[in-house]
């Protein structure tokens, strides 16, 4: 196995609260040592001067579209795009065709990922058969096949009784149930946040209450059942408050927020660009502020991209007809670094939310630079300026609200299992 020395970077290791300039040596697929004057004979050297060196990012919310929707993305292209953004592990949602609701499909995804993806891929299996919200899936069998969590994501389970049983049953397998909290009766045909912007645009509004009501329900059900509830893509001030209070009561609940909900408001939709259409929708400035505070104070555990590729012709429709979602791997770092630049969060704490916390939630290795840990490492230049062009990215799709914008901060190198899989000057180095 090769040796790699990452030289002179700022080591950010949330697991040990370490934040200092040091070299990092990877050997045999693992972290071998950190410090200065390391024995680096025969090692490939990556210059990290002026850069952050951190545990590889773990994205709990992605849509890789394989099997079944390979025109949008596949495990290979999604994995490449992920490592170009600094993500070394991905949890992928079950809304493929066929739905990932049986062990054979879980197997298939893991197998394809092993062959094609430079990033580790962890399937999240469906919570109900066919995402229909009727019959729960065989969680034990899916777990045995490699599922790390259960979720119907966007097909929100509206039947509260069934949701209760799913949460209860999930205690058998002790993995999180991930919920996309939007009351479908309140969303109705809403496509933008309900408020001044929806009124101005004349597009159907989706009220913040649709999320808040549903988070309240699921928090109560988590409390009732003692299960681990993970709230996906929190977007409203009310949801942040409900989650904060639940954690204070000791409810077993974790949560994620996306780069877009942390930085963009509904005003981004004012020119009807369908790349701003996402579920839940971009919200008000007060909601964005509350999500940022929630991420900073730990109410929201982690950043997840909800990377959701759609083909150009699919987004090239009426705002109401275009599918919701945006691609997020390659822009997550510069977008979320905004919180560091505004002094809202320290680099170390931000890395904790990108790496350590999400790895912990799905109980998978990573999130640490301690000796012997897997060699999943990311090197970030927080000051590098570049212009984002989705056409030059690795995703098959281009649906990004940040297209054409100047970015500050970029992933310089990504290592998975001690191997360099991405370098900004050399591109993705395959499997």
């Amino acid at each position: 196995m090769s040796r790699i020395l990452i030289l002179g970077g700022r080591l950010l290791d949330p697991a040990s609260a370490r934040d200092e300039t040091a070299d990092l040596l990877l050997e045999g697929g693992c972290i071998a040592a950190a410090g200065s004057d390391l024995d680096s004979r025969g090692a490939e050297v990556i210059d990290a001067a002026g850069c952050w060196v951190a545990p590889g990012f773990v994205d709990l919310h992605t849509h890789l579209r394989e099997p079944g929707q390979e025109h949008k993305e596949d495990i290979a292209s999604g994995g490449r795009s992920a490592v170009a953004g600094g993500f070394t592990s991905l949890a992928c949602m079950a809304n493929t065709e066929p739905v990932n609701d049986d062990p054979a499909t879980t197997d298939y995804i893991i197998d394809r990922a092993r062959q094609e993806s430079p990033a580790r891929v962890y399937p999240i299996a469906a919570a109900t058969k066919g995402l229909k919200g009727e019959i729960m899936t065989e969680m034990s069998a899916l777990m045995a096949a490699g599922a790390v969590a259960f979720s119907d994501d966007g097909k929100t389970i509206m039947d509260s009784g069934l949701m209760r049983r799913i949460l209860e049953y999930s205690r058998l397998v002790e993995v999180p149930v991930v919920v996309h909290c939007e009351d479908r009766m309140l969303v109705l045909d809403g496509v933008v946040n309900e408020g001044p912007v929806s009124t101005k645009l004349g597009l159907p509004g989706n009220p913040a209450a649709a999320e808040e009501v549903h988070v309240s329900r699921d928090v109560r059900l988590a409390e009732l059942t003692g299960a681990h509830l993970h709230v996906a893509h929190v977007s409203t001030a009310g949801a942040v408050k409900t989650i904060r209070e639940a954690r204070e009561r000791g409810v077993s609940i974790t949560a994620e927020a996306t780069p877009h909900h942390l930085t963009l408001t509904d005003a981004a939709a004012l020119d009807y660009d369908t790349n701003t259409k996402v579920a839940p929708p971009l919200r008000s400035a007060a909601d964005v502020e509350a999500c940022r505070r929630g991420l900073v104070d730990g109410t929201i555990d982690c950043v997840a991209t909800d990377h959701a590729p759609h083909a150009v012709h699919e987004k090239d429709q009426e705002y109401t007809a275009a599918p919701p979602g945006l691609i997020g791997f390659e822009t997550a770092v510069p977008v979320v670094l905004d919180l560091v630049r505004r002094d809202e969060i320290s680099p170390l704490e931000l890395i904790r939310r990108f790496s350590t916390n999400p790895a912990h939630i799905i109980q998978r290795p990573g999130g640490s630079l301690a000796d012997g840990e897997p060699g999943d490492v990311v090197v970030i230049d927080p000051n590098r300026r570049w212009t984002y062009d989705p056409a030059k990215g690795y995703s098959k799709s281009r649906n990004s609200p940040w297209a054409g914008l100047e970015m500050i901060g970029r992933t310089v190198a990504t290592l998975v299992e001690g191997r360099l899989v991405y370098h900004v000057d050399r591109g993705v180095l395959v499997p």
């Binding site: 929806s198 009124t199 012709h313």
Partner: protein, 318 residues
């Protein structure tokens, strides 16, 4: 200065609106002539691109174009290739290749005319998009009120009905407030959009409060399919509470006029007699619609350069 397109009243300055209204005065004169036709837009092609059917608005644009001697082509993708899922922007690109001089777009979804305008070279006129805007309707309403009252500045306008789903309401709110009038809206609470007051209007669920001292009472059409969304209990209850008859009209000024974008559900938004007789000006609105649309087509299209010079540009003084 009016831009390349007319997508909404929100984008216009007060001077733009005044200019269109002033031009419409001349256009109204054309419509009074025995031969209601001037050669101004001879050789120009106007395409009515109606994704959502609307006989009235389409006819109004068609007549306006023909009175200016333009060739008017009606294109309703709803009945042709859209069934084959051709995207709206593909339709727009196809049209662009045919080099029209102006495209009038109507669509059930807000924002489509804007997206089409981004693709098209030719000027685009929004003939109504979802619950967003219907600028020529607002312009004809402004024109009608100006005609009736001799001014717009300082008037009180009450708009009554389904504000939430109404592009006519939004365009009129922008139009009347820009021209110095005060606008109040009244509706059952589920039909008042959130933060409507951010558009500079007073919102109320009391008809009496909205009508109190109003110079103009504008009723909006209630679409009964909205009932499926349970916005109001029933048409009958709406007619009782927000339907306007002579008794309720008494809250407004003695010389208040009554308007409606049509078609009227008689006995629902307006009582039968109010629909037909003064102080209702509904037919004037329809008549003025042609003049206002002639003005818009002229201002957007008449001054564009064209490959071949027209033999006669004359007939109009503006």
């Amino acid at each position: 200065m009016i831009g390349n397109d007319l997508l909404g009243i929100e984008d216009l300055e007060r001077e733009d609106i005044q200019r269109i209204l002033d031009t419409a005065v001349h256009m109204a004169e054309v419509s009074e002539r025995e031969v209601k036709k001037v050669p101004t837009l001879r050789g120009r092609t106007i395409v009515n691109l109606f994704f959502e059917s609307s006989t009235r608005t389409r006819a109004s644009f068609e007549i306006a174009g023909k009175r200016l001697s333009a060739d008017v082509v009606n294109f309703s993708p709803a009945t042709s290739s859209l069934k084959k899922a051709e995207s709206i922007l593909d339709t727009a690109r196809t049209l662009d290749a045919m080099d029209p001089d102006c495209v009038v777009v109507r669509h059930a979804v807000a924002g489509v005319p804007k997206r089409i305008a981004e693709v098209l070279d030719a000027p685009v006129v929004n003939a109504g998009d979802g619950a967003h805007e219907h600028p020529t309707q607002a312009l004809l309403d402004l024109f009608t009120v100006q005609q009736e009252k001799g001014r717009l500045d300082g008037l009180s306008i009450a708009i009554v009905g389904d504000i939430l789903h109404s592009r006519v309401a939004r365009s009129n709110i922008y139009g009347f407030t820009k021209m110095g009038a005060e606008v109040r809206v009244a509706a059952p609470p589920p039909m008042i959009p959130p933060s409507i007051e951010s558009l500079g209007v007073k919102a109320s669920s009391s008809l009496r409060e909205a009508l109190d001292g109003a110079d103009v009472v504008m009723a909006l059409r209630i679409q009964s399919e909205r009932l499926a969304g349970s916005y109001i209990p029933s048409i009958r209850e709406y007619a009782n509470t927000f339907g306007i008859d002579r008794a309720k009209l008494a809250y407004a000024k003695d010389d208040a006029i009554v308007m409606h974008p049509g078609p009227v559900n008689r006995g629902v938004e307006l009582s039968h007699d109010l629909t037909d007789d003064r102080p209702s000006v509904i037919l004037d609105q329809v008549r003025n619609g042609v003049a206002v649309r002639m003005a818009v087509l002229y201002l957007l299209t008449g001054r564009r350069p064209r490959a071949v010079a027209a033999p006669d540009e004359g007939g109009l003084v503006t």
